[in-house]
Symmetry: C2
Subunit: 288 residues, 2 copies
């Protein structure tokens, strides 16, 4: 995710960011870098990094430097489809929070028609209107987060308010979630898992002005296994979390095995100064 | 508001509650008491307190003792319409948060038809669907809060998350707010102001599980004056905040004058341990 402050907008910045990520890794890990779409990008830049992330201006954390006028990237998008680069997008307008994704469907459709050979990934979709585009437009793909599969707006605000479930795109209705679940549980070949995990400090989540983002990284695979099992969809899990993404993003990585077992995991209440998703809860699965 | 813990469900409890309110008052103040609708209520009780507040079970703070089956109050509602008592309601279902009021419109319509002489006040409405009922059903009335006139769901969660704007019924869309504003700014005769101010401690609003309710009491009249002035509706303010309610609830109170002047008021960041609405902001009007 290149929406850091400042945005990861050049190859040098991406290299430095990758080095920072690797410095935190105890195990073999190959981060796939993406560049923030700004005027700094040229077709030449994309020889080295082939994923470009589009943030419409102002729609999420770190989107202050985002795009206000898509038409200025006509030439870049044209070059991207010729070289097989991928456009990933945080697809929201600046409209009312609950309508932002549905309103952006028009933009996705129009981009997909204008650049029919450009692979466009609708990242972390939360709305049924975007799910519906997958079978309508051949060059549109999607990722889905754990939190949009698990929760709805009512988990955020239907009873008491839970700031730890505040994220962008905002959680939506049960009908929206059902559309996403159908894609995930059937391992729709154009859909893969995207965590969108965001470790904001507890103080930044529980104050009078809480940051958007959910720290799901510590529970991702066990919670996915529990959810897929509950919906008799364990057979789709491998494709959803791994195989589909390698095909969609056209990446080849060294083989690595993660084993999940049906053994309870208690989620810590805090990790460092961050409250993880499902803090204090027990998940039925663990990583061996 | 009788949704205390325990609920104010008997005349004795209402008397004790009134005494507690008066003990806090420096000036002349005549609180109009309402009783929480439970099985403890009988037509005889209503000789003394003529407003009954209906909380559907579980829909808001203090609604744990609320109603699960309206039909058991057939006899009571029949007696109420004969004696001119008023049924006030927190009109929400247990459905999805954003649909709860709209779904409850059916209940209001059906109650208003079954007891056509019973005055039913739809308290603190936030949805256009309820506003629409006023001109459709003669015996339906409404109150509107300051916060539902000022804010929409996007003020709560469209940018960062602001727990101090978390309330039930939840803030809704700009279209819903527009319907409410039309009623208030035109001083619709069936509509009056209801503050629904709820002074939850700061810690209860900014934690991992925040209580619903907005502490608007300290700013109500100045903020209303500012809002009505901005919409060239100052001429409707007196009817909205005072005259209409006296007619709707059929109450006569000693004359009292509050004077508002066009002079800035800075809202404290905290009052006691409570964060008021518009904390730290400046409002263009003050009470003399």
């Amino acid at each position: 995710m290149p929406n850091l402050a400042p945005p990861i907008a050049t190859i040098d910045m991406a290299k430095a960011y990758k080095a920072r990520v690797l410095a935190q890794c105890q195990e073999t890990f190959e981060p796939i870098m993406a560049l923030y779409l700004t005027d700094a990008l040229t077709p030449k830049t994309l020889q080295n990094v082939k994923i470009v992330k589009l943030y419409p201006s102002g729609v999420t954390t770190g989107a202050e430097s985002g795009v206000t006028d898509l038409s200025r990237y006509d030439r870049l998008f044209g070059a991207m489809q010729d070289m097989g680069a991928i456009l990933s997008a945080h697809g929201e307008t600046n409209g009312e929070a609950l309508k932002r994704e549905t309103e952006f469907a028009k933009v996705y459709e129009s981009l997909s028609k204008k650049y029919p050979r450009l692979k466009i990934v609708m990242e972390h979709i939360g709305a049924a209107a975007l799910a519906d585009l997958l079978d309508k437009r051949e060059n549109l793909y999607a990722t889905i987060t754990l939190h949009h599969l698990l929760y709805t707006l009512d988990d955020l605000l239907g009873g008491k308010l839970n700031p730890h479930l505040f994220c962008k795109p905002i959680l939506k209705s049960a009908a929206d979630r059902a559309a996403l679940r159908e894609l995930a549980f059937s391992a729709h070949p154009k859909v893969s898992f995207g965590s969108d995990s965001a470790p904001h400090a507890k103080a930044a989540k529980e104050g009078a002005s809480a940051a958007a983002g959910i720290f799901s990284a510590p529970v991702l695979l066990p919670a996915l296994a529990e959810l897929f099992e509950a919906h008799s969809a364990l057979g789709s899990l491998q494709a959803f979390v791994s195989d589909n993404a390698q095909i969609v993003y056209d990446i080849k990585l060294p083989q690595k095995t993660i084993t999940l077992v049906n053994k309870p995991m208690v989620v810590p209440r805090e990790i460092g100064n961050v409250v993880p998703m499902k803090a204090g809860e027990t998940i039925g699965w663990s990583i061996v």
